[in-house]
């Protein structure tokens, strides 16, 4: 949902986010909703500036969110409070699941299909009855005993198995009820520490603000993703929003509040290991991806929008390899490197440490501060042969060889660190042109107004000229391994004395063009799988629809009388649609659910969808369209006129997810990997599929270890940005939060004799840091199952560089990962706390 649409919500739950502090401008719209009478709820371990502006604050122990959200799901189901027409019409609530499926309630915290030896799930038993459904994610393929593509092809043969009476014991409704039966208000209180009365008020407020006339929104941020169960927390929110009919509707939805200016863009056009632009999977050596045919065989979904997959893939390879991508060489498929495992940042740290990785480019990232287990990160950097750091100042990472923790502690000296380091000044905002994609998929162009100082250059300049040099170095090579680089199209025009590459030329390639005449393409529907079109990222097709029309640069917002969707301001992928799945804003017959909540609707006279937004659906498909199953329809033809969730193979919102998740079809409460308590719900302590890299330089401890009795959560402050490199370097922001500190509840501080501004030492199995104490009621003790647990809050912005300094919080954190995303668990760990200082010079200048 667009951020401004929050102003149309009747209730907003902010959870896993400290929105007022970390996204203050988005919070404008929350306060606008509040002014109009919406109920604002903040569920968070800490009382923050967001809580202060909310109507309710539900305190809960970090990492217990699924217990809380599961409690809401149970509340909705047990009290029959779900939005019947929406849920029955648009979700898979009535779908019947394979009879082999067994729930965590039966298996003490495991789903059926667990392979103890491989520590992974087999996914067959999670599927729809007699029908395999590919995931809607980048990787559609899942390992199954039968041929995956054969199984999924059954989707074209008829509708998914359903019981509209919801009586079938294996229909999603019954499974949901069984799965969440244990998540009673009492259990919520015992698990999360949130008083049951407060929990019930939150649940009630959400339910009351949902229905045909009302919508509620949920906002989250890294407070949900930074967990070993992060993906499932968001899934739990999706279940609530689907049950309450809040997806695709004005003022409803789930808004991810992301933390970097183009973190969405760098996910869409991923500088990520496992995806190609537009959420296409990176070929994997251990999947049936050997040839392009194999790849399409398992990754092309038979029904729904993703059946266009080959068009997008081939158009991408045409963009990358140009004339060198021909049908005969599978459009250059073999030029694409295959991954062999998890190549994300956390295993990268270990790979560097173990000497596998020799060279490292750091393009505006500062892992010494931002990455988990910072001591290990800093040590690993000394194992590199070379490192290129591109930033605006000397970051902690760039200075590891003379200021790092191992050097300070005498473990290493510059004289025995071999790493060759290049520190190159990067251009900043206003010094380069390009597009950022914001948290609600809005692609916005920014102008170049001046040159950066001295040798500062944009990353595009750096990559372009590095690529140019490499192509020169390889130009005479006959080695087949050098074919990809030699085949790569790399002829962006440059201009000016500094030979800046033409940014719009790159954006046009991303947008796509017809190969024959180089004309830009205005909509992804025109992309082809015959090599006649090239497109760098299919979801961005339309951002530069014709020569001279850069829609990302369009500055035409809606005026006071406009619809308020601002279709003329920037470009939102796909196809400038502002609210995804907005077909669901209309009822099954295509009429808005309520005159108070209109977004798009079916115009029967004109025979198309119309409204305030571009419809996220087939423009001319009537609500009463039904697939002609006898024809074995594929793609969008297999979805009915009332199946709004077009990216999902059956067009229905997934209350239950048969494929794509590695840790279960339904969100389940597991304890964080390091927890002060045992899991009160199941024998299974933590996420069984969690990624753990336990080794001597990344030790973990068992639950309830008396050395680490306190729950610890890391967080951000409004005054600083992430690793703090920019904000610590600017006096006006540095002075606002000038030193590192941790927040301690007075109850714990009293026990340990700690007063505000005293030095304290925090310790985990990975290391110790010293920082100053702020004793505050913003944190509180939790009573969990009769056990009292204190929680400590620790901002992680600080390092030894800049005006505002402090010990690096990530020295404490561990390399562990969510099974689906490999994201770390820095929001919920445990630590020891004592008054005093470490016996060493402070880690500052």
């Amino acid at each position: 949902m667009p951020q401004w649409d929050l102003a149309n919500a009747d209730a907003i739950l902010v959870m896993g986010s400290n929105m007022a502090e970390n996204h203050p401008i988005a919070f404008r719209f929350v306060l606008q909703a509040k002014e109009k009478g919406a109920t604002i709820i903040h569920a968070d371990p800490r009382f923050t500036r967001t809580s202060a502006l909310s109507d309710m604050h539900a305190p809960l122990r970090a990492g217990s969110d699924i217990a809380f959200l599961g409690g809401i799901i149970r509340h909705i189901l047990e009290n029959d409070l779900w939005f019947k027409n929406y849920v029955l019409g648009y979700t898979n609530i009535s779908t019947i699941i394979d009879e082999r499926f067994q729930d965590t309630s039966e298996l003490d915290g495991l789903f059926s299909g667990w392979n103890e030896e491989k520590q992974t799930y087999q996914y067959e038993s999670w599927q729809y009855k007699d029908m395999h459904v590919p995931a809607s994610l980048a990787e559609h393929f899942v390992n199954t005993t039968e041929s995956f593509s054969d199984c999924t092809k059954r989707l074209k043969k008829g509708p998914t198995p359903k019981d509209l009476t919801l009586q079938h014991p294996n229909c999603v409704y019954q499974i949901l009820k069984r799965h969440y039966a244990a998540y009673t208000p009492e259990m919520v209180e015992r698990t999360t520490g949130c008083p049951k009365e407060t929990f019930l008020k939150v649940a009630d407020a959400l339910v009351r603000a949902s229905g045909p006339d009302k919508t509620a929104a949920i906002c989250y941020a890294v407070g949900w993703t930074h967990h070993s169960t992060g993906v499932q927390m968001i899934r739990a929110a999706a279940i609530i929003q689907l049950l309450l009919g809040n997806i695709g509707r004005p003022g409803g939805g789930i808004l991810a509040l992301r933390g970097h200016s183009s973190i969405q863009g760098s996910t869409d056009i991923p500088t990520l290991y496992n995806m190609l632009p537009g959420y296409l999977p990176q070929p994997h050596a251990f999947k049936p991806h050997g040839t392009l045919k194999d790849f399409f065989g398992v990754e092309e979904t038979p029904t729904g929008w993703w059946s266009n997959f080959p068009k997008y893939m081939i158009s991408l390879m045409k963009a990358w390899y140009g004339d060198n991508a021909v049908k005969e060489n599978d459009w250059g498929y073999d030029f694409l490197p295959k991954i062999v495992g998890d190549h994300s940042q956390q295993p990268l740290t270990l790979a560097i440490r173990d000497g596998l990785v020799k060279g490292l480019f750091l393009l505006g990232q500062n892992p010494a501060v931002g990455a988990s287990n910072s001591a290990l990160v800093q040590r690993s950097l000394a194992n590199l042969d070379w490192m290129v750091v591109r930033d605006f100042t000397e970051t902690e990472t760039a200075s590891f060889w003379h200021k790092g923790r191992p050097v300070r502690d005498g473990e290493l000296t510059p004289q025995n660190i071999k790493t060759e380091v290049f520190l190159m000044p990067g251009s900043l905002a206003g010094e380069k042109a390009g597009t950022f994609t914001n948290t609600h998929r809005l692609v916005q162009w920014h102008d170049k107004v001046v040159d950066g100082p001295g040798d500062s250059r944009s990353e595009l300049w750096f990559i372009h000229h590095l690529g140019r040099r490499l192509k020169e170095l390889y130009q005479d090579s006959a080695d087949p391994k050098d074919k990809p680089i030699r085949s790569l199209t790399w002829n962006y025009p440059v201009k000016g004395e500094k030979e800046d590459p033409d940014v719009e030329a790159v954006l046009k390639e991303i947008n796509g063009y017809t190969v024959a005449d180089g004309k830009q393409i205005s909509d992804p529907k025109y992309l082809q799988d015959d090599g006649s079109t090239a497109c760098g990222c299919w979801i961005y097709c339309g951002v530069f629809p014709e020569e001279g029309h850069n829609q990302a640069r369009s500055r035409r917002p809606d005026g006071p009388d406009g619809p308020g969707t601002h279709l003329g301001w920037g470009f939102a992928w796909p196809a400038n649609r502002r609210t995804l799945y907005n077909r669901a804003s209309a009822d099954l017959q295509g009429k808005p659910w309520s005159e108070k909540k209109t977004l798009v609707w079916w115009n029967a006279e004109k025979g198309h969808w119309e409204g305030k937004d571009n419809v996220d659906f087939s423009q001319e498909k009537p609500p009463d369209y039904r697939p002609e199953w006898s024809q074995e329809p594929s793609g969008m033809d297999a979805l009915g006129g009332d199946d709004p969730f077009i990216m999902i193979a059956d067009g229905r919102g997934a209350l239950y997810v048969p494929s794509g998740l590695k840790d279960g079809p339904l969100p389940t409460h597991y304890e964080p990997v390091e927890s002060p308590v045992r899991n009160p719900l199941y024998g299974q302590q933590h996420n069984p599929a969690v990624k753990i890299w336990q080794r001597s330089d990344n030790p973990l401890h068992a639950p309830g270890d008396p050395r680490y009795p306190h729950a610890l959560t890391t967080y951000r402050l409004t005054e600083h940005h992430s690793g703090g490199t920019p904000t610590r370097s600017v006096a006006t922001t540095a002075e606002l939060q000038p030193e590192g500190f941790c927040e301690i509840p007075p109850e714990l501080a009293g026990e340990l004799g700690i007063r505000t501004l005293d030095w304290v030492v925090l310790s985990t199995p990975r290391g110790d840091i010293e920082t100053k104490a702020i004793v505050t009621e913003r944190l509180q003790p939790f009573q969990l199952n009769g056990q009292s647990v204190f929680q400590i809050g620790l901002p992680w912005h600080f390092g030894w560089r800049g005006y505002a300094t402090g010990d690096i919080a990530n020295v404490l954190t561990a390399i562990v990962g969510d099974p689906n995303t490999s994201m770390h668990e820095n929001k919920a760990l445990t630590c020891g706390l004592r008054k005093g200082r470490l016996n060493r010079p402070a880690q500052g200048d």
Binding site: A52, P195, G559, P560, E735, L736, P738, Y803
Partner: protein
Amino acid sequence: MGVPARALDYADSFLPGVIPQEAELTAGVRIEPGKSYGFFTDTTLCIGCKACEVACKEWNALPADDLGLKGTSYDNTGSLSANTWRHVAFVEKISGDEGTRVTEMQPFQSNWLMMSDVCKHCHNAPCLEACPTGALFRTEFDTVVVQPDICNGCGYCVPACPFGVVDLSPDDGKAHKCTLCYDRLKGGLEPACAKSCPTDSIQFGEVPDLVERAKARVVDLHAKGARNAYLYGAPDTPGATGGLGHLNAFFLLTDRPEVYNLPTAPTRAANRVEPALTAGLVTMAGLALTAAAVFALAKAGPTGPGRNGEIR
């Protein structure tokens, strides 16, 4: 929600220059000399983000004050000063009566008070009245400004201010305080702090309009159950007392003024010129008469060893 209609007139990414009367787009007000401008700071909307502090310093090129952790909630600024013209105060009231944490907040009244303090631009401004050089003066926008080309650093405005706002800079030896962005007003631009404020806790406008808006806000808040909301510094309210007249920068508060470090009934310093002078001069007159009499008597004849100064 749409943007103001006139924003649609500027559809290019590169603009020819400053948008004329940009304040109309950001604050819905045209800025013209001869009218009275000020701030209405509504603390019930403040999220304590300190954007006002930063925007002020960036615009006015003010240096950092000091870089120590103060341990006073999230306030590491402390107070207004020569280099800090906006200061966000933080007061935590997170415990309920029983010492347990609150989970339900009163409507539009947080349990963590946050308030962006600023120069009040008093109607009868004691700093301005105290300034002997005319460095402090009232502008054509009815704001109170220190003119750096005049100030000689006498420092008299500093104790004169009833709100502890004006301060001498150790760097240049002159008085400094919020100018209500005098330069920006001249260019039709909203003051930097109010323009940046994400939640419109700081509202800029013509004072009479702001007062009307603020009164309506209080009525609205009372209706929503926030009975403690009141105005500070608007005409006939606390702060606008003791001959100060109203404050052009006024506030909506929900706790006692002192909690925010504000006096309930401040007074105009110049009120005390006349009493002090009169009492002093009367005393002088009395003593001078006494002295004259003593001298006259001494002249009349050398005083003998009379008892108790008895006059012969």
